[in-house]
């Protein structure tokens, strides 16, 4: 066979995506793709869509296989060399437990969501990009479970993530986020996950937090984290592409897209309160504060993206200024909440030591010293007296984001922020104007939200009558999987292993 000229990237992409597509003839296209117009998005020409990476399926398999080979070689080395002993401290693993319980199930949900969205789009370019993302997300769920399974052999709290996903009060925060997206139409789904969540926000999870995992010696999380993020770059690009595509296709799409960006910026930001708390509180060795990360990844990189979209008539998402007002206190308010409800979490909580408090004073300045440091010191003194504080009741959670209603007013950090919304004669509580706006736009959707505290009080948690029975129903062992870190079995084992590691043969003799 004569050797022909090798095709260029752009030609190859055109032939291997749109070139393989066809118009249906036995059934009209509208019947084959019934879900890509009911949201009101008008598409004049699906060929206007192109993946800027121009990745074809054959190249996709080739590079994904290479990533997997690299990742599993490192995971093998991590397991064979007792990598669990090289982390900074056992309490670091609270962040890893929260990742396993809260984020890994989202990866699986994303796998399902993108399979569904991909099927719904009639343009081949969009369909193939969604197919790749669906496969990526399944890979992320699997590689995370493989990586974390090694920690499960040595530490408590890793055992019940699948059981807890539909039962634990704090896991309804990430779960409800994704279920909100998955019950929307395909355009809103891709806008919410690929654009608002992945492009605008997941840099905060996969960059400063995973870099923090590297700094804390967690080879497993660093490796799958950066391996996953190499896929996220493609997802972010899909997200930006779908948003630009909608905006270019018809001016009527602009207000619809803007409303989605407003909604999903706020929902994503609320979810990231947990990630910020992982960075500021759960990493014993700290790389960057939440406030600094927000400055780099939202105020610099995120806002640059919105400047770029201004030419289509898109403005910054509503309530972004509230996020700016909250950035010096978000994680402190969140940690104090997790700390007091720590008897129903499958991870440990604690009060940071003095060196960490000094780091926070340096990073957050006077507001931390005035408002949060004294509270943290007070709680630590109580704990040292043997009066570790737990709030033995259930929190009231926001009807939209499902985070307990504990954040404070944007302009007054001493007043709790509560917004009451009404639908069908019933009152519902929201944590913020951002969440109240989301509720008012689609009240018929959010009145259906299943709120864990209400369900527990109704007896739906195996008839649990108090928080300890509820924790047992989650398969959590009191003061083993849950509660204070200091004195926990994880902490005691860690101390023994560190001592054994330092011991010489002469010590043993």
């Amino acid at each position: 066979m004569a050797k022909g000229k090798k095709l260029g990237l752009k030609e190859r992409y055109a032939l291997m995506t749109r070139g393989l597509d066809w118009e249906t003839s036995y059934q009209p296209m509208d019947a084959v793709f019934p879900y890509d117009h009911y949201e009101g998005i008008k598409i004049k020409d699906w060929d206007g869509w192109a993946d800027p990476f121009r990745l074809t399926m054959d190249a996709y398999w080739k590079y994904q296989a290479e990533k997997e080979r690299k990742l599993y070689a490192i995971l093998d080395a991590f397991q064979q060399n007792n990598g669990q002993l090289n982390i900074s401290e056992a309490r670091y693993l609270s962040a890893v437990k929260l990742w396993l319980q809260g984020i890994t199930p989202l990866e699986y949900a994303a796998h399902r969501g993108f399979a569904h969205a991909g099927r719904a789009f009639r343009g081949a370019g969009a369909r193939i990009a969604c197919q790749m993302q669906s496969l990526d997300e399944l890979r992320h769920a699997q590689t995370q479970l493989h990586a974390f399974s090694h920690y499960n052999k040595f530490f408590h709290g890793f055992h019940g993530f699948a059981h807890m996903r539909d039962r634990a009060w704090y896991l309804s925060i990430p779960k409800s986020f994704f279920e909100d997206a998955m019950t929307a139409g395909p355009f809103e789904f891709v806008t919410s996950i690929s654009f608002a969540f992945e492009y605008v926000l997941t840099n905060l999870l996969f960059m400063p937090f995973v870099s923090g995992a590297a700094y804390n010696g967690d080879m497993a999380t660093t490796t799958f984290g950066f391996s996953a993020q190499s896929d996220e770059s493609r997802h972010m690009t899909l997200g930006l592409e779908v948003v630009k595509f909608m905006l270019q296709q018809h001016e009527d799409n602009v207000p619809i897209v803007q409303a989605w960006l407003d909604k999903w910026f706020w929902r994503g930001y609320r979810l990231l309160g947990l990630v910020g708390t992982m960075m500021d509180y759960m990493l014993p060795k700290k790389v960057m504060s939440w406030q600094e990360a927000w400055g780099i990844y939202w105020e610099e990189n995120g806002i640059a993206l919105f400047h770029d979209l201004a030419r289509y008539g898109i403005r910054l998402p509503k309530h972004h200024e509230v996020a700016a007002k909250e950035k010096h206190r978000l994680t402190h308010e969140m940690w104090l909440t997790l700390y007091q409800y720590g008897n129903a979490l499958s991870l440990h909580t604690w009060i940071p030591d003095d060196a960490e408090l000094d780091w926070m004073s340096e990073k957050y300045g006077a507001s931390f010293d005035e408002r949060y440091r004294p509270r943290l010191v007070y709680l630590r003194e109580r704990e040292q007296r043997g009066e570790r504080y737990f709030n033995n009741r259930l929190p009231m959670v926001c009807q939209v984001c499902q985070i307990p209603v504990f954040y404070t007013e944007p302009d007054d950090p001493l007043v709790q922020c509560v917004r009451i919304v009404e639908a069908g004669g019933t009152k519902h509580h929201c944590c913020s104007d951002g969440c109240a706006d989301i509720f008012r736009r689609e009240p018929e959707k959010y009145v259906q939200a299943l709120l864990p505290p209400q369900q527990i009080y109704r007896g739906e948690a195996g008839g649990a009558r108090d928080i300890w029975e509820y924790a047992a129903w989650l398969h959590l062992e009191k003061d083993v999987d849950t509660g204070e870190y200091r004195g926990s079995p994880d902490q005691q084992h860690w101390a023994q292993w560190q001592q054994a590691h330092k011991a010489t043969p002469a010590d043993a003799a």
């Binding site: 260029g8 800027p52 121009r54 400063p208 995973v210 870099s211 700094y215 770059s233 990189n301």
Partner: protein
């Protein structure tokens, strides 16, 4: 000043020639190292040239190999066989 585009790569041996090539081809680029990763910021536009990477590594390079060590990026992408460009259009 133009908004910054960025690219972040894993800080491993494979990425070093790519980082060197980017720094050489983009005089305004700022390379910031963090544990495990390198983030490169550049005002307005950043270009990655296949030929520059090939000169560093002494073998053929396919720009799609970038995917193996890529962590994240910010900017509109325009990629062909010879160049990978990130830019904000103002």
């Amino acid at each position: 000043m133009a908004d910054k585009v960025f690219i972040a790569l894993q800080n491993n041996a494979d990425a070093q020639p790519i980082i060197l090539a980017i720094a050489a081809d983009n005089p305004e680029a700022v390379v910031v190292e963090s544990p495990g990763m390198v983030k490169i910021d550049c005002p307005g536009r950043l270009v990655i040239r296949r030929a520059s990477i090939e000169a560093q590594i002494g073998r053929d390079f396919d720009l799609q190999e970038l995917h193996l060590n890529l962590i994240s990026l910010g900017g509109n992408i325009d990629e062909d066989d010879d160049e990978f460009v990130l830019s904000w259009q103002r």
